[in-house]
Amino acid sequence: MQKVVSISLNGIAFQLEEPGYQQLRDYLERAEARLKDSPDRAEIMADLEQAIGEKCSRVVGPHKTVVSGAEINGILQEMGPVESAEEEKRADAAFESTAGTSSSTAPSPPPPDPRKRLFKIREGAMFGGVCNGLAAYMGVDVTWVRIAAVIITLATSGVVVLIYLGLMFIVPYANTSEDRAAAFGAPFSTQEFLGRAKKKPEDSREYDRWRREWRRQQRHWNRQWNHMSEQLRNATAQAVPHMSHTARAITGVFLPIAAIVGAVLFVAWVLALVSLIAQQTVFGWALPHGMPLWVGILVLAMLYFAISTPLKMIRHGGRQAAGYHPGWAALHGLMWLGFTVLFFWIAYTVFPGVHELVDQLMWAADLTVSNISETISVGSWY
């Protein structure tokens, strides 16, 4: 007798014998690890799941509903190990460089050090990977950066959190090996990179345990989040091929509407943020007594992302599945931009409060820009 596990492969349900389920899970986990560097990881994983699903449905029938362990084994053999195309590129680059040096008699000059740039680094990150990236940029241990961040946060009563959030949205993740090299200012192999990012003081066991717990919790959240957004995206994407022409036309109308709603949301959010910072009120609503400003800003930001992200997913899914020409996507983006500008202009002309705010902001921005450029010029001398 065998225990049976029910699974869903890219939306289709299958029943697997338990050993087969273990094998499949290991295979998919390995595949996901190999594709870590690929920006299309989610899509390739869905492709693989669909391919496995098709092979599974070939071995089941009306009188055989369970896929055996041996059959799964055969299917996985057929699938073959997952190789990241990204990794191949890296290997090719290595090959090219060795070929170059062996064929030429003159020693080739060492490649110039890649320019150092600030990146977020996911591997070994606690939260957004900003501290990790800063540590790589400055060439110090990440623990020191984190300690400094905590101290500065306490000293400035939380303003640094805003800077952190700002960096989190602006600074890109180091996704390719070139990015990583630039993050450290020196070429690194993936192994070295991982080792370096994960390096930690050995004596802090307590800290380690706490960090593991935190990472586990984070992974859990991430998984739930990814799962949710993927489902939403897949649902829209899979619905579209089944649609009739009228339904497609409706999607065509819906996408611009989604663009308008997105633009309105964005404008409202920016205005709310500005008015919160400038006047401590959001459309006439004052912050609860005793709540620091940065908490208010944080809440606003979270609210905006909570509302706008599902909308974005639906738009993305609809656009992708409808098989639109890239020009469509560009048009869509332009539409969003156009509506945003339009609504800003309307808000600017209709509401005197907004008018005042923007003028104030312009003045403040002018000041900040000159301050920043001064700082930069001083910094470059240093």
Partner: protein, 107 residues
Amino acid sequence: MNITEKLAPIRKGLLEFVILKIVAGDKVYVADMLKLLGPTEFATQEGTLYPLLSKLRREELVDYEWQESESGPPRKYYKLTQKGRTQLSTLNDYWKDLNRTLAEFGN
């Protein structure tokens, strides 16, 4: 090291070229590509093909569209883009040059 093993990197490097050639014909589904490649020197597996296709798509050399199937969920059918067509003709020319060079060296 036997001869097939020695030539493995060459086959691997040419796989992208072969895929572009296949996709250049008609819209194809991955299972059909594998069937086409199966009896040739370029026999390959899903584990290699899907990541490669997604890389080609990111480089805008191929694109796909969803098509319904009688059994199961809709499938991705791949086709060549204009950019892919240009790349393919460059690769074809390069391949001819390589052949000529090899021929010039004689046996």
